[in-house]
């Protein structure tokens, strides 16, 4: 007997929920022409779908090379955004950095897949290990898992709700950080039907929650790979 299958399905379903939620945010940001956090929405959508396929192999689709390429592009994007942020605001830990690390971890997961097999043996993972026997260094896996768990905890505790998607340099969050008001939605005020939907969906704490779930899911997968 190993990890019960329902646990993998639970994590897989959670990953899909995150992907679906972030996809809705993405559609809203396009519809309202607001680019803030769009890159994070794209990455979480892709990560959610990819992670769901790792937890439940029957849900996986698409060539592995394409997923690797997508996460490589995201890695470069967030790395560049991190450097730009440091250039502009001085030495600090940029918000984009954790998303760069998450993209890096996704690439590693595709390079060194773990063979997840349930107790019933019904869940032979389609990505069951590399033919050459190479595997992710356990130390690196643990380090990444710790970073993601730390990100989850500090995101939940942050008074700057929604910062996991939008950072803290956005004016609304800057005001909040200075103690001059409660965090306003970085998506701005409602505008017609789209605005009503946005007001229901683009809730800062919900955005943070999606990041937290993604972090815990990735950390769990990395621990399984160790």
């Amino acid at each position: 007997m190993g990890t019960p299958a329902w646990l993998y399905y639970l994590f897989g379903a959670l990953m899909l929920v995150v992907a679906g939620y972030c996809f809705v945010l993405l559609v809203l940001s396009v519809a309202t022409h607001r680019p803030a956090g769009r890159d994070v929405d794209i990455s979480h959508t892709l990560m959610g779908i990819a992670m769901a396929g790792m937890f439940v192999p029957s849900w996986a689709f698409g060539p592995r090379a394409l997923w690797e390429l997508a996460f490589a592009v995201l890695l470069v994007w967030f790395a560049v955004r991190s450097m730009q942020s440091i250039q502009r605001f001085g030495l600090h830990v940029p918000h984009a950095l954790v998303h760069a690390v998450m993209s890096f971890a996704m690439i590693l997961m595709y390079w060194f897949p773990a063979g997840l097999v349930s107790g019933s043996g019904s869940m032979d993972m389609s990505m069951a290990g590399r033919p050459d026997g190479a595997h992710l260094d356990a130390g690196l896996g643990l380090l990444l898992a710790l970073v993601f768990l730390g990100s989850a905890i500090f995101t939940l505790a942050s008074p700057n709700k929604g910062a996991s998607h939008h950072g803290t340099h956005l004016p609304a969050y800057a005001m909040s950080a200075a103690g001059t008001g409660s965090p306003a939605s970085p998506h701005g005020g409602p505008d017609g039907t789209t605005g009503e939907v946005e007001a229901m969906v683009a809730i800062p704490w919900l955005e943070d929650l999606s990041h937290v779930v993604m972090c815990i899911g990735m950390a769990f997968m990395l621990i399984l790979m160790v």
Partner: protein, 336 residues
């Protein structure tokens, strides 16, 4: 309001760039930061609890691991441990899911300010339970609770940290650990802990070269290549210099125990020594608690001892000028 600006990062720590937000921020609440670090460790423990072998029945599973802790303990202690092991044996999925849930609850409970005290209280009770039933009372009754191996039990440090980090208003001066319990009590706890570590380094099998060698050699299997290489060196060193190293560790612990009474600069030196020594032990002897070999429920004592030591790091006036209102959250600069 249409916001096209997408420079969305945390505020700068250093640098000459404009930082209007940072300048208006209240000072960082160090006690809160430590609480969140402790929550992160609890969250790691919760995720480790979900590993496949934890749901497995038998000698290779969680119940086997628990029963293994009974050996060498007095009968009445061993009996309580095997009693718990038998419950886990009969309901491995249910019990392990419950154990993981409690740890998730503690981690998230610490984060939510309204439940921080309850979560820390629960963590103390849970840590003591795990120490007894899951760590076999840290090996104290067996005479094998050497700090090299994690004695007197890594999870005990979770409980100590919970006490020291109990939420309170006040200053982080002269160090975070003193904020709730006061300087004298914090110093007392420090002396007791390091004194205990010094004693445990010398008593029982703690100073036996063969026992120390076996401690590392038994962990070797399943470790990544680079760590297995370090293990072989550690095992050889222990076999030849085990007693000397045990005495040296005891001396270091005594010096660290006294260090908290010294002027801040000297305290920092002793803390650096403690951190370096226990970081080395955590890696080279404890092997990160066996996490990398996929057979651990926690990272052993190395990580919580590092947190414990950092909680005694002297704080300066400029960084923590005054009282922190518990109800007033402060933003974290490092958005990891």
């Amino acid at each position: 309001m249409v916001i096209a600006e997408t420079e969305l990062d945390s505020a700068p720590i250093t640098g000459s760039s404009p930082a209007p937000v940072d300048q208006q921020r209240p000072p960082r609440d160090l006690q809160r930061t430590f609480q969140l670090l402790l929550a992160t460790v609890w969250l790691l423990d919760a995720v480790l609890q979900l590993q496949p072998f934890m749901f497995t029945r038998g000698s290779n599973g969680f119940s086997g691991m628990l029963n293994g802790m009974a050996g060498g303990n007095p009968g009445w202690v061993a009996q309580t441990i095997t009693w718990n092991g038998s419950i886990v044996y009969h309901q491995p999925v249910l019990t392990n899911a419950a154990f993981a849930s409690v740890q998730f609850l503690i981690a998230f409970g610490i984060v939510w300010r309204r439940s921080t005290t309850y979560a820390l209280g629960l963590s103390i009770v849970w840590a003591l339970g795990v120490w007894w039933f899951g760590e076999g009372a840290g090996g104290i009754f067996q005479g094998g609770a050497t700090p090299f191996g994690g004695g007197p039990g890594g999870v005990l440090f979770y409980a100590v940290l919970a006490v020291l980090l109990w939420p309170s208003e006040g200053s982080d001066q002269p160090f975070v650990a003193a904020r709730t319990v006061g300087v004298r009590v914090a110093q007392g706890i420090w002396v007791v802990v390091w004194g205990l570590l010094a004693v445990l380094a010398l008593v029982g099998s703690g100073r036996s070269p063969q026992a120390l060698h076996d401690l590392v050699a038994n962990l070797n299997s399943g470790q990544p290549g680079w760590l297995a290489h370090i293990d072989r060196s550690s095992a050889t060193l222990f076999l030849h210099q085990g007693t000397t190293l045990a005495i040296l560790l005891a001396v270091v612990c005594v010096v660290v125990a006294v260090g908290v009474f010294l002027p801040p600069q000297l305290t920092q030196v002793t803390l650096v020594v403690a951190i370096v020594v226990f970081a080395a032990i955590w890696v080279a002897v404890q092997n990160f608690g066996g996490v990398l070999a996929g057979g651990a429920t926690d990272p052993n004592s190395g990580l919580p001892i590092l947190l414990f030591a950092l909680a005694y790091w002297p704080t300066n006036e400029r960084r923590s000028p005054g009282a922190h209102a518990v109800s007033a959250p402060v933003p974290m600069k490092a958005e990891v």
